[in-house]
Every structure is written in structure tokens, then in C-alpha cells.
């Protein structure tokens, strides 16, 4: 397994994908910082300032919004083997297919965690610098901010795993990227507009993530627009459990699905 993970790491670092990942991580962290510097109170429409708890939640929520990036990177990394037809050689060198799938998912979850830690460290630095520069105290205690950032970093690792698992199941790179991207960006939000389906939102990946990271702005905004009551999210630990369950189910399917498939 160590040899397979080392090989997978070598495969990842042999392309520019890791560089794009690093840039995206730094960029999304820095972007949060930039927005903090501008200040949520100056947004259109204006939002609560950094000195309020809501304002800090908005900033962190915006960082959480970039979670589709590591998910897509995970999808791209796993499907590249099918796109470039190296899958045959891989299956020959490790005929027990679950071994290299598990190696891949572990490698990319690790990379996703690294991505999350980089993005959140940069965001933390930027957030605290912005508050110092503007001379306002953040609306949440430092320890709470750091804890929320750590949860976001973990959630990013889980999203990378989810993206990678969907890629392993669908195999077609373009189709997998569109599926993951469309789901995270559009479908979940649209689902929330449907009154009946809204009830299950807390149990969808986006709802569970919102519970984990304490970002309810999106749910509240939609509730406000549609004039319905806001969806009650799960508690943070339950949100984490639901998210983890998704990751495990996706992993199980991703590992089990190709076992009997012909590689032609």
C-alpha cells in the first residue's frame, strides 16, 4: 500500500495539477482576506461587519464556498487515468483493483487536507491582519475562529475525497467534473427552493457542511427570499457525521464498482 501511495504521489507531482491546487488554495485563502479587508459592511447588499459574529461567519462561509475547488481537483486527479488510458497499465501492476483505488483515495484525501490547511492558514492570517489593520475586533473569539477554520480544512479534505470517489465511479473526466461542479454549485441550491425537498437539505452534503462550519447565510437568504421559514441545520457534530457518512459511502461504491468491470 505504501508503494502504491508513493506511486500515486509521483503521478500527482509529475503534472501541473498540484501546482494549480496550491495556487487555488493560496488564492481562496487570500480572496477571503481581501474581502475581509474590504469589509462585509461595504458589500452590495451590505452585510454585518467583521466586528459581529454574523460578519465573521459570512467570511468563513465564503471560504467554505470555495470547497468545490478541491472537490473538482480530486475528480480531475482520479479520472485522468481513464482519460489518458493509463488505467490498463495500472490494473496490470496491481491486479487487485481495490488496492490502487484505496491508495488513490488516501493520497487525494491527504492532498485535500493539505489544500484545506493551506487555504485556512492563509485565510486566518488574512482575517486577523484585516481586523488589526481596520482596528476592529473580530466578532467571534479567536479560538472559535480557529476551530471553525480547522473544521473547514477538514471539510475540504472530505470534499476532495467525495470528488475523487465520484470520479472513480463515473470514470469519464468531463462527465465527472460537470456532475461534481453542477451538484455543488447549482443543484443543491436549487433543491432548497423546492419546499418539500428543503426538509432534507440538512442531510445533503451542503447542508451538513453548513452545519459543520456554522455558515447558515445561504439557507437564511433563500428562506428570506421565498418567504418560508429557514431550514434548521443539524448540530455541528451531526453535520460532521453526515458528511463523513457521504464520504464513506462514496468510497465504498468507488472501490467496489470497478472490481468486476471489464477494462477494455
Amino acid at each position: 500500500m505504501i508503494a502504491l501511495i508513493a506511486a500515486e504521489w509521483s503521478r500527482l507531482t509529475g503534472t501541473r495539477l498540484w501546482l494549480w491546487g496550491l495556487l487555488a488554495a493560496l488564492g481562496s485563502g487570500a480572496f477571503t482576506g481581501l474581502l475581509a479587508l474590504i469589509g462585509p459592511e461595504n458589500f452590495t447588499p451590505p452585510m454585518p461587519g467583521l466586528d459581529t459574529a454574523e460578519g465573521v461567519h459570512v467570511m468563513l462561509g465564503l471560504l467554505g464556498f470555495t470547497m468545490f475547488i478541491p472537490a473538482l481537483l480530486g475528480t480531475a486527479a482520479v479520472t485522468t487515468e481513464h482519460r489518458h488510458r493509463t488505467i490498463t497499465t495500472t490494473a496490470l501492476f496491481a491486479p487487485r483493483r481495490w488496492t490502487w483505488l484505496v491508495a488513490k483515495l488516501l493520497t487525494y484525501t491527504g492532498s485535500g487536507l493539505a489544500y484545506g490547511l493551506i487555504a485556512c492558514t492563509v485565510a486566518a492570517g488574512a482575517l486577523f491582519s484585516a481586523s488589526a489593520l481596520k482596528g476592529v475586533a473580530l466578532g467571534l473569539p479567536t479560538s472559535t475562529v480557529l476551530a471553525l477554520l480547522a473544521r473547514i480544512a477538514l471539510a475540504m479534505a472530505v470534499y476532495t475525497l467525495l470528488g475523487a470517489a465520484v470520479g472513480a465511479i463515473l470514470r469519464n473526466q468531463a462527465a465527472a467534473l460537470v456532475t461534481v461542479g453542477a451538484y455543488l454549485y447549482m443543484i443543491e441550491t436549487v433543491l432548497m427552493l423546492i419546499p418539500g425537498v428543503k426538509a432534507v437539505y440538512p442531510y445533503l452534503p451542503g447542508g451538513a457542511t453548513a452545519a459543520l462550519t456554522g455558515f447558515t447565510y445561504l439557507a437564511d437568504a433563500i428562506a428570506g427570499q421565498t418567504g418560508t421559514s429557514a431550514t434548521t441545520l443539524l448540530s455541528a457534530p451531526l453535520g460532521a457525521a453526515v458528511l463523513l457518512a457521504y464520504a464513506l459511502i462514496a468510497t465504498a461504491i468507488a472501490v467496489a464498482a470497478p472490481l468486476r468491470r471489464d477494462i477494455t
Partner: protein, 290 residues
């Protein structure tokens, strides 16, 4: 270590790709696996490597299924039609990744690169490689585990004459070391000088197997005579009219033909023994041309 197919059958839905195929490739020889495009060669090879699950029958290497081998990539090396490389990886990176997967280390990747001539373009991204370079890189990958068995699916595809000649010598040397080599092709000429044995399939079924020399079949005699029609009328063996004064006479030696002509006072302007080309035997067998 021999490679064996027994009653190997694969159906993709209602389409049978391979039907009840039984043959063997033995150590120290190069076995040519012949058939027209779409005959089921690739599917057969993929079944031998556990990539495609047979509908029925077995494909074994040294008596075991590929996935059950203790060290699969150290036992069998394969070059498969349609396997690729990540375009951004260098040739050496590709070898290193699989060397790691197989547990063979960095030095082995460099060694196979040297053996196959990949060293000359080791640091180039695979997207810039020519077809010939890609075939060498495929072969290098297959050799990482120093396998006893090589399964090569159309390794000559896209090679220039120099590359084909290199590949031929390279494979002969590997077989001389006692390895079992199964090499598929739809172009007979490509493996005519490399293979000792041949297995010929058509529409997924075995139609001939044995030493390559047996495939040549009957000899014939080509005769040119101003009285070709008269000569033909006197013969009881099958003949073909190749031109107004030229015949191909089957099942007779040159001496028998000359005597038959002399006995009847027929002048012969040319008499040539014809060994049918393997290409022709192959086409006859596979029904590609009559």
C-alpha cells in the same frame, strides 16, 4: 512458464468476441497470435491479464489466473494496444511510477530505459513522443519486473522498418533467454521472421495452430508455355491460369511437371517451384482473400 487458454469464451451482450478458444504458448519460443482486425485477439489478451472477465473458460499463466499470481508484474509483462501515458509526464516519470507500483525501485526504471532505447528521450513529455518512441516506452514498462512471460498486442503498430527490425531482434533475444512470448498481429509479415509457432483465429474461433513452417501448406509450380492450354488439359491436379501462357500447378514437383510436358512434346519456357507465401496461407485461412 506457459500461457494457456482453455475453452476461453467472451460475449459482449449478444456479440461473441471469442468462442471456445484453446491454445498454448510455451517457454523459449515466440508464438504469433494472428487474425484479422476484430478477430478477438485483444479481448483474448485482456482476458489473459484479468482485465476482461471471461464468460466461460480459463486463461492461465503458469497454471494460475493473472490476479492470483504472487508477483503479477514480475511474472508477466504486457504491451497492450490502446494503453497510454499521461501527456505531461516525462517518459522516465512514467517508468518510475510503475516501477514504484511494482516495487522495483529507481535503478530498474533507468535500466529498462537503457535496454529499450527510451534513455534517448527519457526527459521528454510523453505528449511529444512519436509512435515508435511510445511503443518502446510501452515495452520498457512491460519489462520493469523482468517478467518470464511477455504478452504483446500489436507491438509493431506504427513502427518504422528500422523499429520493426529492432523489435524483432529484441524479442528473439528475450525468447532465447527462455521467456514465453505471445505476440499478436494482423499483419503476418511483421511476425513471419520472429515467431516459431502461430495461433490463427478468425471471428473469435481457433482455425490453425502449430509451427509456422506447417502453415505454409502445399507447394506449387509456376509454368510458362506457349501451349499452356494443352498442358492444362492433360493434368489431373488442380491448376490455376495466371495469364494467357502461365499456369500455377498444385500438388506436383517441378520434375513431375517437366516430365509430363516432355512426354507430350510440350515446350516449357519457364518452370519455377513456388513456395506459397505465408501471407497467402494466412489470407486463405482467415478468409480475407481467395
Amino acid at each position: 512458464m506457459s500461457v494457456e487458454a482453455r475453452g476461453l469464451t467472451k460475449a459482449f451482450g449478444p456479440v461473441s468476441a471469442v468462442t471456445d478458444l484453446t491454445f498454448q504458448a510455451i517457454p523459449g519460443t515466440v508464438t504469433g497470435f494472428l487474425g484479422p482486425n476484430g478477430a478477438g485477439k485483444t479481448t483474448t489478451m485482456r482476458m489473459m491479464l484479468g482485465l476482461v472477465a471471461p464468460t466461460s473458460g480459463t486463461a492461465t499463466i503458469d497454471g494460475k489466473r493473472y490476479a492470483d499470481l504472487a508477483r503479477p508484474s514480475a511474472t508477466v509483462g504486457a504491451v497492450l494496444d490502446g494503453s497510454g501515458f499521461h501527456p505531461a509526464h516525462t517518459a522516465l516519470r512514467h517508468l518510475r511510477i510503475y516501477s514504484r507500483m511494482g516495487g522495483y525501485g529507481k535503478a530498474r526504471a533507468l535500466r529498462v530505459a537503457e535496454l529499450t532505447g527510451v534513455s534517448a528521450f527519457a526527459d521528454r513529455a510523453t505528449r511529444t513522443l512519436s509512435t515508435g518512441m511510445r511503443q518502446r516506452l510501452n515495452l520498457a514498462t512491460a519489462l520493469l519486473g523482468d517478467p518470464h512471460v511477455l504478452l504483446l498486442d500489436e507491438p509493431g503498430n506504427g513502427l518504422d522498418p528500422e523499429g520493426i527490425s529492432w523489435m524483432r531482434t529484441f524479442l528473439r533475444d528475450l525468447a532465447a533467454e527462455g521467456r514465453t512470448i505471445l505476440i499478436s498481429s494482423h499483419v503476418l509479415g511483421e511476425i513471419e521472421q520472429t515467431a516459431d509457432h502461430v495461433v490463427v483465429i478468425r471471428q473469435g474461433r481457433l482455425i490453425a495452430t502449430g509451427p509456422i513452417s506447417e502453415l505454409y501448406g502445399r507447394t506449387a509450380v509456376r509454368v510458362r508455355s506457349p501451349q499452356a492450354d494443352r498442358l492444362r488439359a492433360h493434368l489431373t491436379v488442380p491448376t490455376e491460369v495466371l495469364g494467357p501462357d502461365t499456369l500455377r500447378i498444385h500438388d506436383m514437383t517441378t520434375a513431375q511437371v517437366a516430365t509430363a510436358a516432355a512426354d507430350r512434346g510440350i515446350a516449357l519456357h519457364e518452370i519455377t517451384p513456388e513456395r506459397p507465401t505465408l501471407e497467402r496461407a494466412f489470407l486463405d485461412l482467415t478468409g480475407g482473400h481467395r
